[in-house]
């Protein structure tokens, strides 16, 4: 699978999917006001598929890479 590239940094995307996440992760994202359609700006990727920092509604959030990929609809940019 192609890697999400560093070129995506500072670009905004819409959250495409929450359905494939486990219940707890989905619940926590909901509590943070994140839902399908939320606009998310990618701020940083940590190395070795470490966490990804995104900004949603003026709040910065660190997510696991796998969760981030699911939010992007499972498709790499």
């Amino acid at each position: 699978m192609q890697l999400i590239s560093e070129q995506s940094i500072n670009k905004s995307y819409y959250v495409k999917d929450l359905d494939y996440l486990d219940d707890q992760t989905k619940q926590r994202l909901h509590s943070l006001g994140i839902h399908v359609g939320s606009q998310m700006t990618i701020m940083r990727f940590l190395p070795f598929h470490g966490p990804v920092i995104v900004e949603i509604d003026h709040q910065k959030i660190g997510l696991r890479y796998a969760v981030f990929k699911l939010l992007m609809g499972g498709i790499d940019q």
Binding site: R28, S31, D57, G62
Partner: protein
């Protein structure tokens, strides 16, 4: 008495606001640190009690500390809910506010960090918010004391019955409203529940709130239990979420005002570019910790400790001895006070400056917002051992006190990850172990004190991580874990907040000096002055000597050849601070300088290092053992922790001493 429950999302400045509102306070949990248990305080000259509860994202708990907050609401009849929100992130903060407003108690919403909001060029019309939400809304900036007086006055001067009771009724979809009416009517009629509580209970039940579902099951609320499948099948949870979100967006749009922006929030982004840099992130993390140790051991802590020691072992000790002689105190009593209590308790008190500097550093990291970044940059490493970056925070807090660290592990979502974090926490070198490290590094490594102590700390981390990996394999921990970390905006640490955090953490140490360390010192003095034949003048014939000499053959392979050290290690199980005070008593000295000189004859640098490693890893103190038992709910894990740590400590110090001896 009026009870005000302080509730809100994490990182909303709730604890700072609590500290500003209350004049005196006490922890309801036994330990200080992060708010992992509820904390109570009172507003001066009033009968108003404020309860600070752990930060929660919603009333449906994922973590153990979130359950504390929800259970408080269910089990206590709170009079007013003070909902602290981060004004800058009102959209998601209001999701919790709606749940609290639906609870039906009077609610005051504090829009805290209001200055952060203004900097973004946005403001909200308070009257519009009050009208839409049906409650009192106040603006505050707790860090600068802004709005606190007004909030306190509101609480002080308005009788509870004058507060408007929250009466928020959202326009949920038709099918939800229908089921809500049905269930509420039945609950009110058949179970003697108030209408407001029944409505809230039903909405929470529909929303799959685990605690509420248990509560309904426990009370056999059939109107809810019988409909659970229908509620879930019809995706009521999703529909409730959407309704709330729409309401919030409408509310914020109608209340929104634009003001001129004085934006300096770019600062957070600039700092983050450096501290979460893919290449520099981890080295910066290590550097920050190195700086912490330099401050504690080389630059500030140690010089102050040395002066305090000179004062206690010099003028105080001599004056007490002369005074006791002049009033004709028995030699026995004089020895107990001067050689036992002053030497032992005083010997531990001299380390207060070092410990306070370390705690101040931890408080600065907490207050500035760096801790969340530390969790982020360490996540990838932690992932390799089956944990997540959040487990790193309890481990760091464990540097202060293992008990607090274990309590802080409550924020970890998965039970298995929480258990692993609990089991590896005692390997983190708590501040109580500092006094004994300081004595040995001063004796054997005077030029590299900070580096040697840092190496011990890192060894503790490595052992903890290795054991975590071992447990990951044993417990079959799966990969999927909830790791969502909010990165709050950086704040310039404020002196009063840092001081309060430092004192909160340090006072436990001072209190211990007056209780358990005092008791341990007296005990060791008695054991070293009494033997089978009664009072002994030669310590070699005391109970301590007998116990130490009996176990000596076991300790020789790890480089310990003095029975005094072994007896001192035993007392360390009471509390780690007692080890150094016991050594003071056992070696009959009130001066650290004399004790350091004595060590020179009994240890070599390599055996001293092996002993420090043993002290780092062997049996957790009583308080930690008790916490492991209470947090895991099992004696088995507490016993396991004791035996496994002895084994690891022995094996590692054996290897260090034996291999090291080949080269030195």
């Amino acid at each position: 008495m009026t009870t005000v429950a302080l509730m809100g999302n994490p990182n909303t400045g709730k604890t700072t606001l609590f500290n500003q509102l209350t004049d005196s306070y006490a922890y309801v949990g036994n330990w200080t640190g992060v708010t992992v248990e509820k904390k109570m305080g009172s507003i001066k000259h009033t009968k108003i009690v404020v309860v600070d509860l752990p930060g929660i994202y919603s009333l449906n708990p994922i973590t153990k500390d979130e359950s504390v907050a929800i259970n408080y609401l269910l089990e206590n009849d709170t009079d007013i809910i003070l909902n602290v929100t981060n004004a800058n992130q009102l959209k998601r903060n209001l999701l919790l506010s709606i749940e609290l407003l639906e609870f039906g108690k009077p609610v005051i919403i504090a829009l805290n960090m209001i200055d952060d909001l203004k900097r973004t060029g946005v403001y909200y019309d308070i009257q519009t918010l009050e009208k839409r939400l049906g409650c009192i809304v106040k603006t505050t900036n707790a860090r600068n004391h802004d709005g606190i007086e007004q909030l306190r006055d509101k609480l002080k001067n308005s009788p509870v019955d004058e507060f408007p009771t929250a009466n928020l009724k959202l326009d949920y979809p038709k099918e939800i409203k229908k089921e809500l009416n049905l269930a509420t009517t039945k609950l009110v009629k058949n179970y003697q529940v108030s209408e407001k509580f029944a409505t809230w209970l039903t909405i929470q039940f529909m929303n799959k709130n685990k605690i509420v579902r248990q509560f309904a099951s426990h009370n056999n609320f059939k109107p809810l239990l019988e409909k659970a499948d229908l509620f879930d099948k019809e995706k009521f949870e999703e529909k409730i979420f959407q309704t709330r979100l729409n309401f919030i967006e409408e509310t914020l749009t109608s209340a929104r005002e634009n003001v001129s922006s004085s934006s300096n929030i770019q600062m957070t982004s600039k700092i983050d570019k450096v501290v979460t840099n893919p290449i520099l992130g981890l080295p910066i993390f290590v550097a920050i910790f190195y700086l912490m140790f330099k401050l504690s051991f080389d630059w500030i802590g140690t010089p102050l400790s040395d002066q305090l020691n000179a004062f206690l072992s010099g003028p105080i000790s001599n004056y007490s001895n002369t005074f006791l002689k002049s009033i004709g105190a028995m030699p026995f009593l004089r020895s107990l006070i001067v050689d036992g209590i002053i030497a032992g308790v005083g010997g531990v008190l001299t380390f207060i400056p070092q410990i306070m500097v370390l705690f101040a550093c931890i408080s600065i990291l907490e207050d500035s917002g760096y801790m969340a970044r530390a969790a982020l940059v360490t996540d990838r490493v932690m992932q390799a051992i089956g944990l997540n970056g959040k487990a790193f925070i309890p481990l760091i807090i464990g540097f202060g006190c293992n008990v607090t660290g274990i309590m802080a592990a409550r924020t970890i979502e998965q039970p298995k990850e929480r258990l692993i974090t609990t089991l590896i926490s005692p390997f983190m070198s708590c501040s109580a172990r500092l006094p004994i490290y300081s004595l040995f590094v001063a004796a054997f490594f005077p030029k590299n004190q900070a580096l040697i102590v840092l190496s011990i700390y890192f060894l503790g981390i490595i052992v903890a991580l290795a054991m975590a990996k071992f447990y990951q394999l044993i417990f079959h921990v799966k990969e999927n874990t909830v790791f969502i970390v909010e990165l709050p905006q950086y704040h310039l640490p404020r002196f009063d907040i840092i001081w309060r955090g430092t004192w909160d953490k340090s006072k436990g140490f001072v209190r211990k000096a007056g209780t358990i360390i005092f008791a341990g010192t007296v005990l060791i003095w008695l054991l070293s002055n009494f033997g089978p034949s009664g009072f002994v003048t030669n310590i070699d014939k005391s109970f301590s000597a007998m116990l130490g000499q009996f176990l000596l053959p076991l300790f020789v392979p790890i480089g310990i050849t003095s029975w005094e050290a072994i007896s001192a290690l035993f007392t360390g199980i009471l509390a780690k601070e007692v080890i150094s005070s016991s050594m003071m008593v056992l070696f009959h000295t009130t001066s650290q300088t004399t004790l350091i000189a004595t060590f020179g004859q009994l240890f070599t640098p390599i055996s001293a290092y092996a002993l420090l490693v043993f002290i780092l890893l062997y049996v957790p103190c009583f308080a930690t053992i008790g916490t492991i038992k209470s947090e895991t709910g099992s004696t088995k894990w507490a016993v396991y922790s004791v035996f496994s740590s002895i084994l690891i400590a022995y094996a590692l110090s054996f290897v260090i001493f034996q291999v090291g001896s080949l080269f030195m």
